[in-house]
Amino acid sequence: MKADLAIQEAQWVPRAAPHRHGGSTHVDVMGSWTLAAGIVGLCGAVLFGPAAAKVLLLAMLAGIGADFVVGYARGRPVVGGLSHASLTGLLLGLTLPATVPWYVPAIGAMVAVVFGKALFGGLGHFVWQPALVGRVIIQIVFWPTLSLGGDNATAPVLAPGHLLIGRLEPAVQVDMPGYTGWQRLPRPDEPALRMERPVSALRAFAEGHIPPDGDLLYTPLLRDRLPPWEDTVFGTVPGPIGATCVLALIVAGLYLIYRGFLRWQLPTAMLAAAGLAAALLPIESGGGDGWDWFPVFAVEQGRAVGVAYVLYHVTAGELMLGAFLLAGDMTTTPMRARGQIVFAAGVGVLTVFMRLYGVLEGECYWSILVMNTLVGVIDRRTKRDVLGMEPA
């Protein structure tokens, strides 16, 4: 009988319960993260053109290549290699501006894979987010290319009508005080606009480098140095490839949250903490003659400039990229949701703190790495109570 033959004893291997697995494997996890990073990368390629696509591709390929080399050196393929290496490369590419020379993303991705991941023993063993390890190492090595001062005080972004295919040079210098926003600009002949990065303006302001205009403390910053706030949300401002388009980052983050691979508490806590820190921490009021506390309550000429200032802090710079893609890496965050809240709040506050008072650039990357170091402590402090035992 058919049914009798169907049972083949040899196939029945003993195994321990459970006999059915849940839906997701580490391959799904990596795949979804890569997809989310890919969404953001795509938007970056639209905003910064082929140069950005080149940086991302180079970073990915270099990451995959480095993983192969590591696997070859170890004599066996690296676990979860392809997907995790390409994810690391992609994330590293997202933290770079599109104008970097070709060797920066390539070396960065290799450094990330070799020093960030392989040195610790591969998938699941590293302490610091590998892409960020690569990022801070190349930030130090290629200081002139990646610093925000000097030649890099201004940076390009594609102009209206030139998206996706435009080149970043030659660029037309934007006169900030008269700038009414990217969308209202008539289509210029040059394919790109050059302007100050919003985050550089915020840093300069915190250091008191933007002189007040009579009584007005915040207005000179908002009026003369920053693009309209919508621009920082749509991403039409200069900055790292993946960090400017907040909308894409939110979509990517929501996708990850929906798949269950990112806990919603983490980005929420991080952004809330960063917003709170920006709202409360004092800034040096022009000329260095004292501190201005609680900027969020500032009102000038009947406008709530303080609130605008806080909103810029949240959307400009790498905070959003950090919250939705960089900080949430499973291996380098605490295990439990409440640990992740502590972790993320720490990252948010530290980012704003370093932005206001620090000298290091890429403050969000450094804060994530600092908090990565504390994950062990946070995990130990946020243990669950075991059923039937006295809480420790």
Binding site: A6, V13, H21, H26, G124, M335
Partner: protein, 441 residues
């Protein structure tokens, strides 16, 4: 829909746990079907290696349905009865998933299915005595029903919980019994509560099947059985979790509900008691779910004890080769490795899957899902690292004992690490005096 119901459902219970995909649609609506014995039955003469029974029939003897084949030598074993009428062809050994090889009687059915004349059979009048006479057992923990009740009385329990929570996927035997005979189950619960003299009797069932809940509640109207409808978040079916949810008492690590003054009885025991006492037939059949993607007619069946797996497969039909066979639920069950296994009285389900789910484990990626979902709150990732240790501290021992072997951690782990199996092994190795079955769901 089920998600909404789960959200609207009563909010009490334990931390952790997981709503499982149910896979019950195929079996939940099919009535319980009787399977008649038409081929040789391999009736195990005791249910556990440690039980003591004396064979009271001889080779070649004709037996009738309900006739005793083996008597228990002491209170810790149960009598065994013939599932149908026929001839004892031989005595031999048979393989059971839980206990390995057990002595068995090979019974050739004669197809007449004659039953034993009533007057001969029973001697005892008391409730507990009747349970003993008719060989009623409790499948988990495996013990004769009378012994379960005796231990509960000795522990001085004040609450009785009957658990009809089948939160594991695929299982529907309890649900079908509730649909088909709610009155008898409530009656029997009252009897058991009387026998134990408890202050409260609770009947736990899944909130998700609200029409069944309504019917059972209607049956329980005016009786002192309280029907408690709970969310079916796995492992709500586990005694430790039931005690936590219903009574808000926490069983100490490695303990049982008896330690906190409650006894949890599986519905299967109540069902057997109802058959034994109300229908006056001894335990000769097991009501089991046969399901899985390799089964053609998945459903709940009442199968004679001793039916070989092959015969059962012929009866339910297979859709293709079976890659994996499980005795019990998909999360806590035992894998069947031989096709000559037989259905025992303590079987709750046979699951036949076309695919053997094997995933290559990778290093822990620190996702925290195992901690978040663990119902008792231990850190499975940490405990699993004890694999290579030879000794450990008191706290870790307590954690090892607190684990209830629900299997959730391995189930959710994206790195496919065999966490719960490793914890079980470590417990057996590192915890003095811990038995393999400790806690068992």
């Amino acid at each position: 829909m089920s998600l909404l119901l789960n959200l609207l459902g009563p909010r009490r219970g334990f931390e952790g746990g997981l709503f499982m995909p149910e896979f019950k649609a195929a079996t939940a609506r099919r009535p319980i079907e009787n399977i008649t014995a038409d081929r040789a039955l391999f009736v195990p003469l005791r249910l556990a290696e440690s039980w003591q029974t004396d064979i009271v029939v001889s080779q070649g003897e004709r037996v009738v349905r309900g006739q005793r084949l083996a008597t228990a030598c002491d209170g810790r074993s149960a009598h065994v009865h013939a599932p149908t009428s026929g001839t004892i062809a031989q005595f031999g050994r048979v393989w059971t998933p839980r206990e390995g090889y057990l002595p068995c009687a090979i019974l050739e059915p004669d197809g007449r299915n004659e039953s034993v004349p009533r007057s001969l059979a029973w001697m005892s009048d008391s409730f507990v005595g009747q349970l003993t006479d008719r060989g009623v057992i409790s499948p988990s923990p495996l013990a004769p029903a009378a012994e379960v009740l005796r231990r509960a009385s000795a522990a001085g329990v004040t609450e009785l919980i009957v658990s009809a929570m089948e939160t594991e996927p695929y299982l529907t035997a309890d649900l079908r019994t509730l649909v088909e005979q709610p009155g008898r189950l409530i009656d029997m619960t009252c009897e058991i509560a009387d026998a134990l003299g408890v202050a409260r009797a609770l009947f736990a069932m899944p909130y998700r099947h609200r029409r069944v809940v309504k019917r059972v509640t209607a049956e329980a109207q005016g009786r002192y059985v309280e029907v408690a409808a709970l969310s079916n978040r796995y492992p709500q079916c586990h005694p430790v979790m039931l005690v936590k949810t219903l009574l808000d008492r926490e069983v100490p690590p490695g303990g049982s509900p008896l330690d906190v003054g409650a006894v949890v009885i599986p519905l299967a025991m109540v069902r057997m008691a109802a058959e034994a006492i109300i229908d006056d037939i001894p335990v000769t059949h097991a009501t089991i779910t046969v399901a899985g993607d390799a089964v053609e007619h998945a459903g709940t069946y009442r199968v004679p004890v001793g039916t070989p797996l092959r015969a059962l497969c012929d009866r339910v039909g297979l859709l293709g080769p079976v890659g994996q066979c499980v005795w019990g639920g998909p999360l806590t069950g035992i894998s069947i490795t031989r096709d000559d296994a037989v259905i025992t009285a303590d079987t709750s389900a046979i699951l036949l899957f076309s695919e053997f789910e094997a995933r290559e484990p990778v290093p822990c990626i620190h996702c925290g899902w195992c901690i978040e979902d663990c119902p008792v709150g231990v850190d499975p990732a940490l405990l699993a690292q004890l694999e290579s240790e030879s000794s450990t501290d008191a706290l870790t021992v307590a954690h090892l004992r607190a684990c209830i072997d629900c299997g959730l951690c391995s189930h959710v782990c994206p790195a496919s690490l065999p966490l719960s199996a490793t914890i079980q092994r470590s417990r057996r190795r590192l915890v003095p005096g811990a038995s393999a079955a400790e806690g068992g769901a």
